[in-house]
């Protein structure tokens, strides 16, 4: 859906927000609509994306991996090579630049594992601003180094000790801050979630991924890919990958975190196992109990550990345009090691979910067919987690 004026993708999305935020969200929408087609703004953003973040990213043919599996050709969209090591910078540069145009003096953000927080801190440093980042207390311990990174970049990290002390609580706390400081504060949300216009705005800033895939595949093979795969937590790299390709014939697959298995109760597979509800300003699929209380999630990758999902994904699922599958922690570790060994590329655990699915899909397809996998981030941050997992499972 190009630009949903109502703020709805079918029945999903909307603006379920406290009244205090209504003027701020309206101001944001007005400015976004004004600047998104503004030549000067576009030129400036383009400059930062190219010269600062390192766009365009390569579309790499993973020959060793493809041959090892013996099916379709697998191409990797190398968002892991971007500045900061993940796709997050596409969105933070866009929004930080917008905040600057809106004359907002104070930037706040939430972060889970810390990738969006670091990308926000980088974009703000580059544009001469400072950010305050809310991060679940549990995550500040799990991802100590990212806290230090944000501090070095000039941003302040607020540990959040309410609720489950993870990403969803960090979003709650950022919204509370926004309500309190609504007059001078810009909330730089990190995924394609939240009240309208965030889901569509974040999608637009991330759509550079899918646009590049389209033109790079055309150059390489003179056609669109047969399959496109990306991992889904909140779903920003996925919607950025999918949106420019929904009008083609490509098979599109989003991969959620099945954690210890969909039946175990320890997973984050919102679209595969969730029900409709309202959280963080949007109507979408959620992991919740029978009474509407949001349940705790689990994933080996902190970046997918979220009980909601972007409303456009909920829409694409119900429209049956995109298939949403899932990968377990074990499958993810196998895919992580497989890509590392065959190609010398260490993927983020989030992205390894997409690799796990690509292996399954490639087996079923002919050699003449092509699969594009968005490698949303690099895995340096996860090496310790993987080591712990392997040590534990060898002992077990």
């Amino acid at each position: 859906m190009k630009y949903p004026k109502s703020g709805r993708f079918g029945e999903f999305g909307g603006k379920y927000i406290p009244e205090t935020l209504v003027p701020a969200v309206q101001e944001l929408e007005e400015n976004y609509l004004k600047f998104k087609n503004d030549k000067k703004f576009k030129k400036e953003l383009d400059y930062y994306l190219k010269q600062y973040a390192g766009r365009p990213t390569p579309l790499y043919y993973a020959k060793n991996l493809s041959e090892k599996i013996g099916g379709a050709k697998i191409y990797l969209k190398r968002e892991d090579l971007l500045h900061g090591g993940a796709h997050k910078i596409n969105n933070t540069l866009g929004q930080a630049l917008l905040a600057k145009k809106m004359n907002k003096k104070r930037i706040i953000a939430e972060t889970g594992a810390g990738q969006h927080g670091v990308a926000t801190a980088m974009a703000c440093a580059a544009l001469g601003m400072k950010a305050e980042v809310y991060m679940g207390y549990k995550d500040t311990i799990r991802q100590k180094l990212n806290v230090f990174r944000m501090n070095m970049l000039g941003s302040k990290v607020h540990p959040v000790k309410s609720g489950s002390k993870t990403l969803k609580d960090a979003i709650n706390e950022a919204i509370r801050d926004w309500i309190t400081n609504v007059e001078n504060t810009y909330y730089l949300l990190g995924s394609a979630v939240g009240p309208h216009p965030y889901p569509v705005m974040v999608r637009d800033f991330q759509s550079v991924i899918g646009e590049e895939i389209k033109s790079q595949m055309k150059k390489l093979n003179n056609k669109t890919p047969d399959s496109v795969i990306a991992c889904v937590g909140g779903g920003s790299n996925a919607i950025g990958t999918f949106y420019p390709l929904v009008d083609t014939n490509a098979e599109i697959i989003g991969v959620e975190a099945a954690g210890k298995g969909l039946k175990s109760g320890f997973h984050s597979a919102t679209l595969s196992a969730g029900t409709k509800g309202v959280l963080h300003g949007m109507m979408t699929y959620l992991l919740q109990d029978k009474e509407g209380q949001i349940t705790e999630t689990h994933s080996i990758s902190a970046g997918l550990d979220y009980p909601g999902v972007g409303p456009e994904h909920s829409y694409l699922k119900d429209q049956k345009r995109v298939k949403y599958h899932s990968a377990t922690d074990t499958e993810v570790i196998d895919a992580f090691l497989l890509l590392t060994r065959t190609e010398g590329i260490i993927p983020a655990l989030e992205s390894a979910h997409a690799i796990a699915e690509a292996v399954k899909v490639a087996r079923k397809h002919k050699k003449s067919e092509s699969i594009v996998v968005t490698l949303s981030g690099r895995g340096d941050k996860d090496v310790e987690e993987v080591q712990n997992y392997l040590n534990k499972n060898v002992k077990d």
Binding site: K15, E19, R176, V182, T275, V278, H280, K290, E291
Partner: protein, 266 residues
Amino acid sequence: MSRIKEKFSELDAKNEKALISYIMAGFPNEKTTLSAVKGLVKGGADIIELGFPFSDPLADGPVIQNASTISLEKGTKIEKFFKLVRKIRKLTDTPLVLMTYTNILYKMGYSKFISEAKKAGIDGFILPDMSIEESKDYLNAAKGKTDTIFLISPNTSIERIKKIANASSGFLYLVAVYGTTGVKSGIKNYTIKAIKETRKQTKGKVPVGVGFGVSTPKDVKRYVSAGADAVIVGSAFLKIIENTPQNKIEQKIGSFTKSLKKETKY
């Protein structure tokens, strides 16, 4: 006429404004909630708001967040909550308003939830994350059954105040400050201005209640003299509940309520 509307006309006849009190159901247990309600009634609270806990209360400050978490940990569920409301209804005719978040109603279905709540004795709803734009199904479900109390803020435009006041029944909830519930920041000039502007726009069609950060008799007096039809106190009651042994709750809540209620008479 709804119980809330009746209450306001009754107060009007006595030249009084309404004291609305908020407590979280099941915090820290059902017995305490019942004691607190008895204290509120004895102290003269005109309307009682009962909070139903939600896992992600994004409009609430630390005091109500903590109360929500504890209430959920202690096993507060919808069916149990409705039973508690029935017990309260046997004690008093005071109007009861349910404050919770949209997802709790949406999950069960607006119609079903509102009907069940009405049967138990609930007179109205406050949903801080229900914006007027998304309220069509909710309003249809509540029509003729319960009041729908919407919130406005000091930064709400005149156009929106009119629109929201139109959809509101029972009263209109003016959020006093930029912030979450329970955060004390003193009485602001912009709040006094907002009370006057809101009353000008509503033209007496729906009473205006002021809440968020209201915690002392002095606050109550100031807002009443600025023109508020009702004043809402919440976190201050929860703090008393937090710090008082169970057997003293009724008396403590009662005397605090009385001190607040005194300031609504003029």
